[in-house]
Symmetry: D3
Subunit: 137 residues, 6 copies
């Protein structure tokens, strides 16, 4: 039975700020530079979710990408889109909103929600040039 | 000897329809939604073919990408471009034209045709947001 | 009062075929080449709709892009997406589905539907490399 | 003497919120939807600045694009990048931060700063799908 | 009769150098910076050619984009692709290879070669961020 | 401790030529075609550098992408940008400048320079359609 990978890209626009509240303002300014800017900044995030599995002989699908899109929208996009990632998202409470930590948190939200196949990778672009991938390792 | 991966992207435009002839019209409509639309729809498919191998010390190439392009064009593009994937392509006869099944079928067409290096991956984008990868597993 | 241009991009996937029924098969094959292929082919069309006007002092909008998106979806996308442009779309009846003619037909569908500002341009990409713009001239 | 157009694209990441302080919360929520979200959201803005003019016979340039980039960075990017457009940018004080108003404000900042050729157009993408152009009309 | 615009994008890869032989080395180094680098540098140029006209009622075409592509390839691409723009291209002899001058020279090569419709615009991207448009003015 | 991958994209514009000096002109012309063109050609190269590691609990970073960018600029971009890869770059001396060999050479330049995490992959695009990945195997 062949094993393949199916991926879906979604988008959301959010505000955030890199700031570690356990550290001094000096440490934060030095560590994060303008990403520590007090009044927030934001991004057009691109999220790619990759599911591994075997195509169902009856449907030809590993997982219906319409269903995968709805799962990602329900668990991630509705909570993060047009939101402040530091203030507004329950599952990010207490998490430093680096792209690394966001990708890992999105994996945790999605891992047990994929009804067919299994979650293989989460890729998150903060900008066209900066990306993090997490594969649950 | 270093092992690297070389990839080439090609494009084709084709019509298709998701429809399982062993199932009822109701099942097909419910399973595939508008992808089951009776008079076909279509896509600008993007196909990326990745070959793994060691660069030849004389040429610097794993495989000449011009040669790889010609192989992909001869075995895939000439048959699929401006065609109906359900009706016009011999090597897709009897195959449900989901992106998963197309990527696996393209792998089979290419697997024994790569004269240098070895086929590592086939990636197929149906849209900018939907992609399948198959690595022959 | 400053006059600016606001644009919204949308996507749809459709099948079509270039074929003039008043001409012979030979003429069609010679004129359109593989675009005349009998069993259809298709594209991921990209449609950009541009509205000119003055931003409303109260809202800052020429037109709410959410509203513009809904108008384009209602008048164009719901009819054309996952459809056969030659067979399934009422407002394209009897029209040769060249990108030129599609852009002009989309303008006609939209021209009287823009409640704020005025329609300035319709751009339609058949592929990343082929585009038509129509400005109602 | 031929007249041509030279353009340079730059990027910045910023937070903002659509909110008219002269109106009720109900009006703002109804007018702007999630773009009115209280704790801000943000975007990877793309700004394209287009200068019209005649190439200098000695340099071949309408304007040195390195110089144009430095002007745009000094007047726009240094003030807007990783900032909150509603709170942190002097030249946007009291301006509703719709893409329309931002493009017009950027034009005003740049209009008298172009030492060769003349400013022809400012294009501002809020997302890949939403764009405003202002030509000083 | 409606007038629309049809455009075709093509690509070529070339070496060049900005250098005015009538000026001193110091002037060239100061004016062009690293673009004056002695041993050349290069780009993946993107060229978009836009033709204005009325769609032919029999074909639906302003101009067959396959024909337009062949004209651009014959007059521009075959001469410029994998070439040195300063040394290898007859129609660029004695021309400073700024993007401005290249776009104007490409217009001259194409202007009288368009058999249907009329040349409206030539756009040339040196990089994703730097572009020149020339409309024959 | 979760292990993720962080990647940064950078760009450079360079001239090169495929030519093996130990072989005859006929061999070179036959092997490389127009890539062997005597007066060089060039590309807008895109380089993606991927680092694997565990996010630091204090910073949320595997590696600060600003630091990674500076390392890649110092070790690769400053030497290769607006240069001739065959003539101007010390660490490429005697290397056939195929994309394969460039990616492997860039890996060698970067491998011991990554202060946090470890180098996982180097991807190099010569054009949008041609790419090589090297993972140090």
């Amino acid at each position: 039975m062949p094993r393949a990978f199916v991926s879906r890209r979604v988008h959301f626009n959010a505000a955030h700020r890199l700031h570690n509240p356990d550290k001094s303002d000096e440490w934060n300014a030095k560590t994060y530079g303008k990403c520590n800017s007090a009044n927030w900044h934001g991004h057009n995030y691109v999220l790619e979710v990759i599911v591994a599995g075997t195509p169902d002989p009856e449907t030809g699908y590993i997982i219906d990408l319409g269903l995968l899109k709805r799962i990602v929208e329900e668990r991630i996009i509705e909570k993060c889109d047009h939101a402040n990632l530091n203030l507004d998202v329950n599952f990010l409470n207490g998490i430093l909103t680096s792209t690394e930590n966001l990708a890992i948190a999105f994996w945790s939200e999605l891992e047990d929600s994929i009804p067919e196949g299994e979650l293989y990778s989460v890729k998150l672009w903060e900008t066209e040039r900066n990306m993090v991938e997490y594969r649950g390792e």
